[in-house]
Symmetry: C2
Subunit: 236 residues, 2 copies
DNA sequence: AATTGTATTATGTATGACATTATAAAGGTA
DNA sequence: TACCTTTATAATGTCATACATAATACAATT
């Protein structure tokens, strides 16, 4: 029997640990809708007895579920199913010193795509007070010097406000999750090339488009505003 | 002293558990760059002795780090720092039966924004063979019937290919992560309204724009293509 | 009725033992 | 020497038991 035919005929042995099995077991209960949000799951000792494994194993499985936000545990109360806070979970692993360069760049790209693509949501959900706030932010914009292309805090304030206007909490959390990366990217010199500031749409320009334009115009304006970032990403 | 002034003057006591502290401790080592990818971290027993807590506590902290992808552990070898696979981590918690309606809608919105905003990356990185593949996918497109507005598998194939063309692995993982949601959204009747198919840009139209157009045109085409989704989101 | 004390219960932590397995070392054969 | 096999070893994985801690419910007290 050749190796190939062997591989086709033999069935993979299960290398998963007990914890893996218990975890899968519990997750399956969720998939099959035996359990839904708010439901309590059995106590550790009950699970231990029911499933025939030690409490140690049960605990590790529960810890895993807790880390990914599927359950919450409290002393004396036990654990209940929860609706996970998707992007907040990621924040912890969003450590720029740990993520490799490719991932950092890709996350940055995702940000660019999102900010261009969110135009429709901005127009759909913006309120007059938002315009006022945007104007206020723009007015307090620090002067652009040669050394410092832009002030990061101000950037975050402005773009953060845009995320907020979308009314999409998760989108905003996504931005928040990326903040440490921005900070890093701008401090690390990764993208620190002198940039052609001229002819790019300014923050003020963006606000004007939001006030008097259309989603389509906003996408183009935003694309132009972000041009320097695109340039640096694409030039290599 | 009033309650208000009391609250202002008293400092919050630390309610974090031992595991919380150990975890924070280890993460801090990463932040301060004492540890970087590939580095091994001390054995459980060493940590236990060094930090003066039981192995149980150490193990739970390590489990947490493992779940969020910061370390990998192997028998006999111990644990090493790894660069987390950001979006894949989320896949587990991306359970449509657990996520609440708002989150589901918001994730769907993020998808729409991304697909519109990714135009530049598609143009920047597309290769001739990609066009061929897109054409092939479009040609095998099933006939649109009244009952079934579109074939989900085909949708995934086409849009998945677009994600792939962006050359952004994480963006692709993001799409993959959302698949169970699409499936759910389309099966659950959540968005199942009859839709005006006429005058919308088809998949074929998208490919034409990719071949002969520009990022700007692609954004508009994609926005139009996704119009039915936007309609259903915005109408309520 | 509202507050304070008390018992209970489930999770959190500690300890010690053994199981499992991937690596490294030792040994044997060509 | 080089390669394969066996054996030892060191780390994580699992088990069992005990106790600590904290949140709840309920009783007691004012």
């Amino acid at each position: 029997m050749t190796l190939t035919t062997f591989r086709e005929n033999v069935e993979l042995i299960d290398t998963s640990s007990l914890v893996d099995k218990v975890e899968a077991n519990l997750v399956k209960l969720l998939q099959e809708r035996k359990l839904k949000v708010g439901d309590a799951i059995p106590k550790e000792l009950e699970l231990s007895e029911t499933l025939g494994v030690s409490r140690t194993v049960i605990r590790e499985a529960l810890i895993r579920l807790r880390v990914i936000g599927l359950i919450e545990t409290k002393k004396k109360k036990g654990a209940v199913i929860t609706s996970p806070d998707v992007f907040s979970i990621l924040s912890k692993s969003m450590n720029p010193y740990i993520l490799d360069q490719d991932t950092l760049r890709e996350m940055f790209e995702i940000r660019l795509a999102l900010e261009i693509g969110m135009a429709d949501f901005i127009f759909q959900r913006i309120r007059p007070s938002d315009i006022v706030e945007l104007r206020r932010i723009v007015e307090s914009e620090p002067i652009v010097t040669e050394d410092q292309i832009f002030n990061i805090e101000h950037e975050i304030a402005f773009h953060g406000k845009l995320y907020e206007i979308t009314g999409n909490e998760n989108m905003k959390k996504f931005q928040k999750m990326l903040l440490p990366i921005f900070d890093y990217v701008h401090n690390s010199g990764l993208l620190k090339k002198t940039v052609n500031v001229k002819k790019f749409v300014s923050h003020k320009g963006i606000v004007d488009v939001i006030e008097n334009g259309s989603p389509e115009l906003l996408r183009n304006a935003m694309r132009n505003h972000l041009e320097s970032h695109f340039e640096r990403i694409f030039e290599k």
